[in-house]
């Protein structure tokens, strides 16, 4: 119990500090590093919830793939050292006010909700998870695969340099 509490506290602190870095710092590269830190914290929280498989997937997909893709996008887009005009104070205050109001409302909802009695963490091993994914939840599994393939092809199409130039209709248009 004590060890669980420590792991929870450390992961939660990591997640929140990383999230603060991810939105608070000026440099976009530091934001991406903070994002990776926050997702490592969330993966730790998943570990305390007994979902090892999900923690590993989160690390691989978010911290591994998405973080690298973001770094690539930053390198392909703006120069990192361009001076930017500072954000006006009313806009920052408005954003903070909105976030605070939403946080208060959600917290009231959480406090008011009646949860069923909690029976403690039920660990789901990766083996059990794999068996479930290929039997009971095979539809979800296949849908994710199709979605990822479509997204990958769409990303290549969108980011290609000569968009619309080499489609099926292109040879007719070309002289």
């Amino acid at each position: 119990m004590n060890w669980d509490a420590f792991l929870f506290g450390a992961s939660a602190a990591l997640a929140l500090v990383g999230a603060a870095f991810a939105v608070g710092l000026k440099n976009i590269f530091h934001n991406i590093l903070g994002f990776a830190l926050a997702l490592i914290g969330v993966a730790g929280l998943f570990l305390t919830l007994g979902s090892d498989f999900l923690a590993i997937v989160l690390l691989l997909v978010y911290v591994g793939a998405l973080g690298i893709a973001m770094v690539y996008a930053v390198m392909l887009s703006q120069p990192l050292d361009t001076p930017r005009a500072p954000r006006s104070l009313p806009k920052i205050a408005g954003a903070a006010l909105l976030a605070a109001v939403v946080a208060m409302a959600l917290w009231l909802v959480i406090r008011g909700a009646h949860f069923p009695p909690m029976e403690g963490v039920l660990e789901v091993t990766p083996e059990k998870m794999g068996r479930r994914l290929l039997s009971n939840y095979v539809l979800a599994f296949e849908l994710i695969s199709i979605l990822l393939v479509i997204a990958m092809m769409g990303a290549v199409m969108v980011a290609r340099k000569d968009r619309g130039g080499t489609g099926p209709a292109a040879p007719k248009a070309a002289p």
Binding site: A38, V42, A73, W107
Partner: protein, 102 residues
């Protein structure tokens, strides 16, 4: 406060930090980062509630897996759009993307 409340509180804070970032940032990549934080908070909520209730907790994990998959697909599409936008407008600052503003 029961144990579940701590998880919900962390997810709530993550979600609201993400919301703040989404509203406040002007760089498209910064907004995408904030959006992904919000999605991670949602999946943390789902996993915490289903896992701590002790019954059929693999349902929550499958839901969280779908969330992660959708977030990855969305991130890939969004990043490629940013690269395309950068090529057209030479900027990924949202305040420069005002072509449709009358």
């Amino acid at each position: 406060m029961i144990w579940l409340h701590w998880y919900l509180l962390v997810a709530l804070l993550l979600f609201c930090i993400g919301l703040y970032g989404l509203v406040q940032r002007r760089s498209l990549i910064g907004m995408l980062i904030a959006l992904e934080l919000m999605l991670a908070a949602v999946s943390l909520n789902v996993v915490a509630i289903t896992s701590l209730s002790g019954r059929s907790s693999s349902v929550g994990q499958v839901v969280a897996l779908i969330l992660i998959g959708v977030a990855a697909a969305e991130g890939a599409i969004a990043l490629s759009l940013f690269v395309a936008i950068q090529r057209e407008v030479q900027s990924i600052d949202v305040e420069d993307l005002s072509e449709l503003k009358g």
